[in-house]
């Protein structure tokens, strides 16, 4: 989503995701309530996202694309190190209980945490969908991502739209960080590295900047790598399999599944 507007490969987004997990944990230690820590983490991450956009990306927009990319990677490395130095290199546990019981559906038992992840994801997706398709802000965002200059000629304050875009995107990343932290009951400095590259693989697969494409790409990579892992005996880790799927698909659809030229 962040990619759609500025066309920057935002690797540090995964840093913000890890930041969300840490802030959420910190808030949870003060007030042991899951929903409170979720909100605090989302707020802190949106702030961080806006600062990154304001002070790092905006001045670099007119430069070759590789410049913000390297800056983003630098930021991601620095963030991981800050987490390691401040919070220690070990895995911290995140024993949040949101107060939802477990659910028995026939033979399938959905645990507390699974239910929670599912519920929060649904809420966030619904909010995102509402903003994007029902509000003026969403319309302005779509216009800005299609053509920044024309949008600003039409009287859209693109500066503010980009900021809003970073705000929402970072808040989502923060929420994801908290959810993953709670679900696996662990928070650690390098938790962002695999999502950093895999998220890129997914958005590329879907077609950069296309939200339905991203959802499709996520499903395809998730199901594909699990199937390949289970059905064949290629002795590869699942991340390599994910990238093999991605490269194969890009050979036939060089702009991604739902991407336009």
């Amino acid at each position: 989503m962040v990619y759609g507007v500025l066309r920057i490969l935002h690797i540090a987004h995964a840093g913000i995701y890890a930041l969300g997990a840490y802030i959420g944990l910190l808030a949870f230690r003060f007030v042991p309530n899951f929903w409170f820590s979720l909100v605090v983490a989302m707020a802190a991450c949106s702030l961080a996202g806006i600062l990154v956009k304001r002070y790092l990306y905006m001045p670099l927009l007119t430069l070759p694309r590789i410049v913000p990319l390297i800056a983003s990677i630098g930021l991601f490395i620095a963030m991981e190190e800050i987490f390691r130095i401040v919070a220690g290199p070990y895995v911290l546990s995140f024993p949040a209980d949101p107060g939802l019981g477990s659910l028995q559906l026939g033979i399938v038992k959905i645990t507390n945490n699974q239910l929670l992840v599912f519920l929060v994801t649904c809420i966030l997706l619904a909010v995102l969908w509402f903003i994007m398709s029902k509000t003026k802000l969403g319309l302005a965002m779509k216009a800005t991502s299609q053509d920044l200059e024309i949008a600003s000629v039409m009287g859209i304050d693109t500066e503010r739209i980009i900021a809003a875009n970073f705000l929402i995107g970072s808040a989502m990343a923060g929420a994801a960080g908290v959810l993953v932290g709670v679900y696996f009951n662990s928070v650690y400095p390098t938790m962002g590295s695999i999502p950093a590259y895999k998220a890129l693989a997914i958005i590329v697969l879907g077609g950069l900047g296309s939200i339905p494409g991203t959802v499709l790409g996520g499903l395809l990579i998730g199901v594909g790598e699990t199937l390949l892992l289970g059905m064949t005996d290629i002795p590869f880790p699942r991340d390599a399999l994910a990238f093999i799927i991605m490269i194969l698909i890009l050979m036939f659809r060089p702009y991604g599944l739902l991407g336009k030229e």
Binding site: L60, I66, Y197
Partner: protein, 287 residues
């Protein structure tokens, strides 16, 4: 001549310079962003290691074979890269890096997680130093020649505008593959030196973070120039040694360095528009 420590650092930096020059051919001249250069480096190192330990060939026989093999594999891996552009290319090369690393790590032929050990160099450290830096010099000369030849011109025109280059009669596909071939061949040379220097290699040495380090070097120094990647490789190769007293914050400083460089000197230290060069030119004009 030098102590063992200085020699080790100097050889390491020499290998990094060759890597930076090789990536600069692909990314700097031809403008094809590659985030998976460590894969080609690794392919070179594994070729050498296998030829040396399994086939028992000597150093100077392995060298041309390794370069030929990596050039070939590099051109083959360039084919998927031809279909995609810009950000798609960047991600595809990350993918190639992960897949190549996984092959090294999980196929028993490549030693698996144990890596390959027992690669014996037929000479001591200080001759190794001279050989490495001899190759560095060779690469610099080759790079100069490449830029001045019409190959360099063709690559740069592809970087600036692919469509315009194609209209001007440049075979874009051919030259892109050529850039990947030259770049990966040189990376293979670096891998060869690395394998003999370390005597032991494993898949972890050639991961995605290493690709970032190499790319940082050329961007740091000034992409698309010759002096830039060389200087970038020297500075970023020395940085871990210089910051050794503050070990704990080493990687943090490294990340911060990248951010500040990009923010305030996006063309690199010795890029066309850099502060140092401008000051230097100003002094020269006044004189």
């Amino acid at each position: 001549m030098f102590g063992g420590y200085t020699l080790t650092v100097a050889i390491n930096i020499g290998i990094y310079i060759i890597l930076a020059i090789s990536l600069n051919v692909i990314t700097g001249y031809a403008g094809q962003i590659s985030l998976g250069h460590a894969a080609f480096w690794g392919i070179g190192a594994y070729c050498s290691a296998l030829l040396a330990t399994k086939a028992g060939l000597p150093f100077w026989v392995v060298l041309p074979l390794t370069i030929a093999l990596t050039t070939l594999i590099g051109s083959l891996l360039a084919i998927p890269c031809l279909r995609v552009r810009e950000d798609f290319l960047a991600i595809t090369t990350i993918g190639i890096n992960f897949v190549v690393q996984a092959v090294f790590l999980y196929v028993p032929f490549f030693g698996g997680a144990m890596g390959i050990g027992g690669i014996q160099a037929p000479f001591g450290m200080s001759s190794f130093f001279w050989i490495t830096w001899g190759f560095v010099l060779l690469c610099v000369v080759l790079d100069r020649w490449l830029v001045r030849s019409w190959i360099g011109l063709a690559l740069e025109s592809i970087r600036e505008d692919e469509t315009a280059a194609a209209i001007s009669g440049i075979d874009v596909v051919k030259f892109k593959v050529l850039a990947f071939a030259i770049g990966s061949g040189l990376a293979g040379l670096a891998g060869h030196l690395y394998a003999y220097f370390m005597t032991f290699i494993s898949a972890d040495d050639f991961g995605f973070p290493q690709s970032i380090v190499i790319l940082s070097m050329i961007v740091f120094g000034g992409i698309g120039t010759l002096r830039g990647p060389v200087l970038g490789a020297i500075i970023l190769g020395l940085a871990p040694e210089l910051f050794r007293p503050i070990m704990e914050y080493r990687t943090l400083i490294y990340g911060a360095l990248l951010i500040f460089m990009m923010r305030f000197q996006p063309g690199g230290i010795l890029g066309e528009e850099s502060l140092i060069l401008r000051t230097f030119r100003g002094v020269r004009q006044r004189a």
